[in-house]
């Protein structure tokens, strides 16, 4: 870490003590891309609608490299509302089609970075749309076989957390309905669960997964998991999950570390 000047240290201290709302406001003021969106900083704008703006990247990976930005300031993808995020990718799809047609390339890479470690350069969500040609030397990824044990560990750990991410949302909505906050919440619950569990007959293989996502029993389990920190009950739940779902057959479902599994990868 490079040493910081007293001013920088003071700033860091200030940032540490900010509430999430203050931090977001602060980031917004500092954000170059917000200033591009408002036009304070000039840019080559190729597409502009109510929610998004597309510009040419001034540090392009290839000629015609496009940045697609939501107009509202979000630091990383998980902060964006689902509908805005979906619409952003639909716009990216149309831009990608234009790139393929106009620049006569044989592919596009759509790239998003969440976090510094992922190569994020500015704290504003952006989709890179990069025109690609064979042999251009970009993204020279070399996939390798992953150890079977690591695979089942990752599947169990991410699967469990994913169900929690989806489940918590439902719990919150349920709570809203129970305390009868109003029609809109109820409506949202219905439509959002309709999005997840399709009324048409699901394929047999997905039934168990959907059951995990939606049965009241699962919801109760997640609530109880939140209430208790006892590892014993957590282990019980895991055993339960293992019985009801094909995906969680491997027993240790506590958090695992990427560093550890990366060692096995070599």
């Amino acid at each position: 870490m490079p040493s910081l000047s007293p001013e920088q240290q003071a700033l860091q201290e200030k940032i540490k003590n900010m509430s999430p709302e203050e931090l977001r406001e602060f980031q917004k003021q500092q954000c170059i891309f917000c200033q591009i969106i408002t036009g304070k900083i000039p840019s080559k704008k190729i597409y502009d609608d109510a929610n998004s703006l597309a510009i040419l990247d001034i540090n392009p990976a290839a000629r015609g490299h496009i940045l697609l930005l939501p107009k509202e300031h979000y630091g990383i993808l998980p902060q964006m509302p689902d509908d805005l995020l979906g619409a952003l990718f639909s716009t990216a799809k149309r831009l990608s089609q234009v790139v393929l047609k106009v620049l006569k390339v044989s592919g596009t890479t759509i790239f998003v970075a969440n976090g510094l470690a992922a190569g994020q350069k500015a704290p504003h969500v952006m989709l890179h749309i990069i025109p690609r040609k064979e042999g251009d030397g970009l993204f020279a990824l070399q996939p390798r076989l992953v150890d079977a044990g690591v695979l089942s560990q990752v599947t169990a750990a991410v699967g469990q957390k994913f169900n929690e991410v989806m489940g918590i949302k439902k719990e919150a909505l349920n709570a809203g309905v129970k305390s009868s906050v109003g029609e809109p919440v109820k409506e949202k619950l219905i439509s959002s669960s309709a999005g997840l569990v399709d009324t048409d007959a699901p394929l047999p293989a997905q039934e168990s997964v959907e059951k995990n996502l939606t049965t009241p029993k699962k919801k109760r389990r997640q609530i109880s998991r939140k209430k208790t920190s006892s590892t014993e009950s957590a282990a019980d739940e895991d055993a339960d999950n293992g019985a009801s779902s094909k995906r969680t057959t491997s027993s240790p479902t506590q958090e695992i570390s990427l560093d550890d599994i990366a060692k096995l990868f070599k």
Binding site: M80, V146, L258
Partner: protein
């Protein structure tokens, strides 16, 4: 021609989420362990021909998995990557999004050196793209035949309704 992703749907190996139209699974060959792939059940070859409702469902699932990856694998960051077309290194002829968990200094080749383009090259790219976009997005029917009509309409309506509802609820 066989498609490895269509086969994966049959096998159900390392599946994290299996929705009616979207599947997410941990990759068996990956650039880093913990790489997760999200793709539509239906065989769409490239990004451009995936209908919006299915694309948005894929993105929704990918984003939630991204959140789960931060917590469960202790990732310091994530990338979402679509390799679209042979030129982009797409391997299976089936549209997919990849979620790549990142560690500090993991040296994955997901960076690029900025190209030193002449101003003229930038300008012509800008003019060419802008001209086409201003004319309206490309509306040519894709060569591949997309979803069977019945299913497509059902999904579209449901999703649109939901989006409309949530829009109306916004303050």
């Amino acid at each position: 021609m066989k498609c490895e992703l269509c086969e994966l749907i049959q096998d159900q190996r390392n599946v994290i989420c299996a929705e009616q139209d979207v599947i997410a699974a941990v990759r068996e060959t990956a650039v880093t362990p913990g790489q997760i792939i999200v793709f539509p059940r239906q065989h769409f070859t490239i990004f451009e021909i995936v209908p919006d409702p299915i694309l948005q469902k894929c993105v929704f699932i990918a984003n939630k998995i991204g959140m789960a990856v931060f917590d469960s694998l202790g990732a310091a960051g994530t990338n979402i990557l679509i390799q679209n077309g042979i030129g982009a290194g797409q391997t299976a002829p089936h549209f997919a999004l990849d979620i790549i968990p990142r560690r500090e200094n993991d040296t994955l080749p997901l960076q690029w050196k900025p190209q030193q383009l002449m101003e003229e090259e930038m300008d012509t790219a800008f003019i060419e793209l802008k001209e086409q976009i201003d004319k309206g997005f490309v509306t040519d029917t894709p060569k591949e035949i997309p979803a069977p009509k019945k299913e497509k309409i059902g999904v579209t309506e449901g999703k649109n309704n939901y989006l409309l509802k949530s829009l109306r609820r916004m303050p």
